[in-house]
């Protein structure tokens, strides 16, 4: 019996932060893969809206594992693939201005150090040596992780895309999935307005739209987008080392963060409080005044830098703030890489490798701890501390 020409071993839905690296790793392993993407080119959903921070300094082993592996990939990208993705090992600094933050950060250090992370606590004067432009007023100290960094989400994702194509992956753009044919608990084919494709496995990496894609296969996924606003400035000569994260809650925002990208531009973002649920990505007037004030309070020198552009991106959130990676319990050939909670870019490379190992049934004992924490079948009762 001949297999129809429109048969693919794997169909990935969504050419974004996670789908694109997954396509690369699958193609690299010789899998015949098709990526279906609703918009006209790669990385045009939430990927290009990410600000580019990459860290392993998370609060749980799953994301620490994925973070460490992703940093390994990002930091050797140029050697491995030849592309300059603007990787910069700038580090992350979480600043503490109150005892609450000091306590949270110091407690997290215990977990983080136990997984081999090299971050540490610095009191005010030592932290000011690392970040001299921090406002010393009210500053108690903070953590600094020298091995975290940043890169360009757009360039990284595009590089993965180019190499995936070189290895035989196919990408169909402007071709959203309209329905899926499920038979006996398995997706048999995937339909679009242009064609239909038979497949053995479907991978859902649809980011903010993962729940809608889940519904096409008849399953409900606890992923809903939260809209965060971000902005970028003009470039200036390098003056800031690490990403600065301030987890102090304030009216309108639960935290914010900024760093100097290697182009010299400051990129910044805020976590809205309360959450801005939904997929509205139109800019609001409240963001810039709110974030600007917070940033200048933390780093007065920023007041003269000029803001160039502002935008909004979607954080596909899960109830507990942790990603969902693993096989759907309802549909046996439906692999989920969803609900990355705004960390799809920084966890994308390791996430793509992990999804690939799951497809190939080659996941390791080391993967098991990660997969347990990120399991689609979990109860979603905990709460991520460093979202």
């Amino acid at each position: 019996m001949s297999i129809p020409s429109t048969h693919y071993d794997v169909i990935i839905i969504g050419a974004g932060s996670l789908g694109t690296p997954t396509a690369y790793y699958l193609a690299e392993a010789g899998v015949k893969v098709l990526v279906l993407e609703a918009v006209p080119s790669v990385g045009q959903g939430s990927n290009k809206r990410a600000i580019g921070g990459i860290r392993a300094t998370h609060s749980d082993p799953a994301k620490i594992h994925l973070g460490l592996r992703s940093i390994e990939i990002f930091s050797t990208f140029k050697e491995h693939f030849g592309d300059d993705i603007e990787w910069d090992r700038c580090g992350y600094t979480f600043v503490a201005h109150t005892e609450r933050e000091e306590k949270i950060l110091k407690e997290l250090l215990v977990t983080q150090k136990s997984y081999g992370l090299e971050n540490d606590w610095y009191n005010q004067s030592d932290l000011l040596k690392i970040v001299p432009d921090l406002n010393p007023r009210c500053l108690i100290g903070g953590t600094f992780s020298p091995n975290d960094g940043s890169a360009s989400p757009l360039l990284s994702n595009h590089a993965y895309y180019t190499h995936a194509i070189e290895r035989g992956a196919e990408f169909h753009f402007s071709e959203p999935v309209t329905s899926m044919c499920v038979e006996n608990g398995k997706i048999k084919k995937v339909m679009t307005a242009k064609s239909e494709y038979y497949t053995d496995i479907v991978v859902n990496t649809a980011g903010a739209y993962a729940a809608q894609v889940g519904m096409l296969a008849g399953i409900s996924l606890p992923v809903k987008p939260d809209s965060h606003e971000a902005a970028i400035t003009e470039p200036v000569a390098r003056f800031l080392g690490p990403m600065i994260v301030d987890i102090r809650p304030a009216v309108g925002s639960s935290n914010y963060y900024f760093y100097q990208h290697c182009t010299g531009q400051i990129v910044f973002c805020i976590t809205p409080s309360p959450n801005a649920w939904g997929d509205d990505i139109n800019e609001t007037s409240s963001f810039l005044p709110m974030v600007s004030r917070r940033m200048i309070e933390t780093m007065p020198r920023l007041k003269n830098i000029r803001v160039r552009r502002t935008w909004r991106g979607l954080y596909p959130m899960t109830p507990d703030g942790f990603p969902i990676i693993g096989w759907s319990p309802e549909i046996s050939n439906f692999l989920l890489g969803v609900g990355l909670c705004g960390q799809g870019f920084m966890l994308g490379p390791a996430g793509g490798e992990l999804l690939t190992r799951l497809v190939l049934n080659e996941h390791t004992i080391e993967d098991q701890e990660t997969l347990n924490i990120l399991s689609p079948s979990r109860q979603f009762v905990g709460q991520e501390l460093l979202k």
Partner: protein, 695 residues
């Protein structure tokens, strides 16, 4: 150091200004109080303001409009756009090479809340359309906030020294643009219901229906309008050619700003690209300012601008090369020459036709794009919005005045004001004012060499009628129902009393009077003339020219005079043979050899055709991607950084679309780059409402 200031001008007064001193790279230089840093540097002959971070190529003025960041300099430690900042006594200015240092700060900040103001109507843009709309609303006592990013109202009218075309009844035709600006400014300022914020740039229209305004360049304010009127005008299109970012390549707006607003001479020898009205008029303005115009290229077989504008320029001695294109701007640090070539019917340069001309500046006037993004956003966010002038549709300023007037009344009606219907004839007039040039007819010449006869060297259908109201006996007729028709003289050879008002008042400088009375064999011809007194004087021998600039021989100037109503237009009289007299339309002003081509064509080998001026992305780089199959400009942006720079894709997006077209990819197959706020770069401190704590 050479002084590059305009010290005499036929139209513009040269104000007495206080001289101040500032430093450039530690050297003391003189500036005029109140002028921008960019103009002060230009006046001192400094045209290179820094070097690009990416390729170290020289940077200078490009837009002179606060839109791009090409003119950035470091002022007392802070990076600033030199075209927007006023020079002050003792200021220390240094070049901006690569990325500037962010200045350190001291002292504590205090934060003021960002003011939020509700207004019934917000008008963005105080040019001809915005002012005209505001006037209509002001007459009805309706509250309006009008914001404009410049230091005075009028938009681009303030740069237009020539008399306007259009309808004398409807839109001040016959009056100079600079004077229309003053009239409208005065009128709008008289209405108590209209509040005006100058130097106030609209930054964004947000989805929560608020509009962010950078008030007076230093305070961030959010306006919540019930109705938004967008009259932001247009931005200039740019052109891809080799050497197109060399200092000395300007948009027409930048050139006119330097010359007509700041009275600075940015060039001695100018070459113009583009034969639309903007390029033709800019050429005329250049000549008036004492700048030599080497030539003008137009890719089409005919100039797109009004024939009278073209004829005027040709008569001044400026060669116009139609069916020609620019190949390159050449030079090391700044423009030193231009290379052009003839094109075939597909606009491809024909080998062997290349020529080069010495020049020190290139003026690019290849069309305009509407600045309509705020209107689009308002529609997206369900804010009741109107649009008028060039922001709606590119046309002459006269059309913008009229469309603003109509939109003002439409807004009043929308608000429920009982003002009756807007006459249908107004919409027709609006359309007529927007119309492109029409048919060209043969010139009508006097049939009998007796008496006095006006000759109209105006043979093309254009919307213009001032001449019809100039004749005290009402003998010049333009069809009032359609002012595009050419004028006719309904008197006979004995009606004209030689008041010369038509000669002095025609915006196209296209009416002459042939006076056969004293000597039918050698009649006296009155010709309009708008140059400073020192260009030609009585008894000089000048070359007389027909409408299209062909020489009719040399003759002596019989008289130069002005008439009471002439408003700075002079009248030259020459005496000449009766066969030539009716054909005379002007005298040659520019006789210098600067229009001669160089001995050898300058072949510009380096492929430095820049598409994205901010990030210095070349056309070659983008063509490679298009040939690879890229169709989403966002993807081109990802890979090249084109569209990511300071200007916000204002310049490159249309050039990239054009490259797609040239590569055979139709527009409906490509995806435009995402449009994102904010309109210009603004310091974080201003957005935060930050002030330094008072000591």
């Amino acid at each position: 150091m050479t002084n590059h200031r305009i010290t005499t001008h036929p139209i513009l007064p040269i104000p007495a200004r206080k001289t101040i001193s500032f430093n450039w790279k530690g050297q003391p230089l003189q500036a005029m109080e109140g002028e921008t840093i960019a103009s002060a540097l230009f006046a001192n002959g400094i045209k290179v303001f820094g070097y690009h971070y990416k390729d170290r190529s020289p940077l200078g003025i490009f837009c002179a409009n606060g839109q791009c960041s090409q003119c950035m300099v470091i002022v007392d430690g802070k990076p600033l756009k030199s075209c927007m900042e006023v020079v002050t006594e003792g200021m220390s200015v240094i070049p901006n090479n690569g990325h500037p240092e962010l200045p350190p700060v001291t002292g504590e900040s205090i934060f003021h809340p960002i003011p939020e103001i509700n207004v019934p109507i917000l008008i963005i843009g105080g040019g001809p359309a915005g002012l005209s709309a505001a006037i209509e609303l002001g007459k009805l006592g309706i509250q309006v906030l009008l914001v404009d990013d410049k230091h005075r109202l009028g938009g681009k009218l303030v740069l237009q020294t020539h008399r306007f075309f259009g309808s004398a009844d409807a839109v001040y035709a016959g009056t100079r643009g600079i004077d229309i600006a003053t009239i409208l400014e005065k009128e709008v300022s008289a209405f108590p219901s209209i509040e005006i914020w100058l130097q106030s740039t609209c930054l964004a229209v947000f989805s929560d229906k608020k509009v962010g305004i950078l008030k007076s360049g230093k305070e961030y304010v959010l306006i919540k309008p019930d109705i938004l009127l967008v009259t932001c005008g247009a931005r200039e299109k740019f052109l891809a050619f080799k050497g197109n970012t060399l200092p000395g390549v300007y948009g027409a707006g930048a050139f006119q700003t330097l010359v007509n607003r700041d009275l600075v001479k940015p060039s001695e020898k100018l070459f113009i690209v583009g034969g639309g009205n903007v390029g033709l008029i800019a050429g005329y303005h250049a000549l008036q300012a004492g700048v030599g115009v080497v030539g003008l290229v137009e890719a089409l077989p005919e100039c797109g601008g009004y024939k009278v504008h073209k004829d005027k320029l040709v008569r001044m001695g400026v060669p116009i090369y139609t069916s020609h294109t620019i190949l390159s701007a050449n030079g090391e640090e700044k423009v030193e020459s231009v290379s052009i070539a003839k094109v075939d019917e597909k606009f491809v340069p024909i080998p062997g036709t290349e020529k080069s001309y010495e020049c020190d500046a290139l003026l690019i006037a290849v069309g305009l794009d509407p600045v309509s993004e705020f209107y689009q956003k308002a529609l997206d966010f369900n804010i009741p919005a109107f649009i008028a002038g060039d922001a709606e549709e590119i046309a002459e300023a006269s059309a913008a005045i009229f469309s603003g007037k109509i939109k003002g009344l439409e807004i009043a009606k929308f608000m429920g004001q009982n003002i009756g219907d807007i006459p249908a004839a107004w919409y027709r007039t609006g359309e007529i004012l927007k119309s492109r040039p029409g048919n060209v007819f043969a010139e009508e010449l006097p049939d009998l060499p007796v008496g006095v006869i006006p000759v109209f060297h105006c043979s093309q259908e254009i919307p213009c009628d001032p001449c019809s109201s100039l004749c005290p006996h009402g003998l010049i007729i333009v069809d009032k129902k359609d002012i595009r028709s050419v004028p006719t003289f309904i008197g006979n050879n004995y009606c004209c009393e030689v008041c010369e008002k038509c000669v002095a008042g025609c915006p196209g400088l296209a009416i002459t009077l042939v006076d056969y009375r004293s000597n039918p064999e050698k009649p006296l011809v009155s010709i309009p003339y708008e140059f400073s007194g020192d260009v030609v004087t009585k008894d000089d021998i000048v070359t007389i020219l027909d409408t299209e600039g062909n020489s009719l021989g040399d003759t002596e100037i019989f008289d130069i005079h002005s008439i009471k109503t002439s408003d700075r237009t002079m009248i030259i009289q020459v005496e000449t043979e009766k066969e030539k007299a009716p054909h005379i339309a002007g005298i040659r002003i520019q006789t210098s050899p600067i229009t001669q081509p160089m001995f050898q064509y300058v072949n510009h080998v380096e492929d430095d055709t820049i598409v994205c001026r901010c990030e210095h992305v070349t056309a070659g780089e983008i063509r490679i991607l298009i040939r690879k199959g890229y169709k989403d400009i966002n993807e081109i942006k990802t890979v090249t950084r084109a569209c990511m720079g300071a200007c916000g894709a204002k310049t490159c997006a249309s050039l990239i679309r054009r490259l797609f077209k040239e590569e055979g990819v139709p527009y409906d197959k490509i995806t435009d780059p995402s449009k994102r706020p904010i309109f210009i770069e603004v310091p974080l401190g201003i957005l935060a409402g930050e002030r330094q704590e008072e000591m």
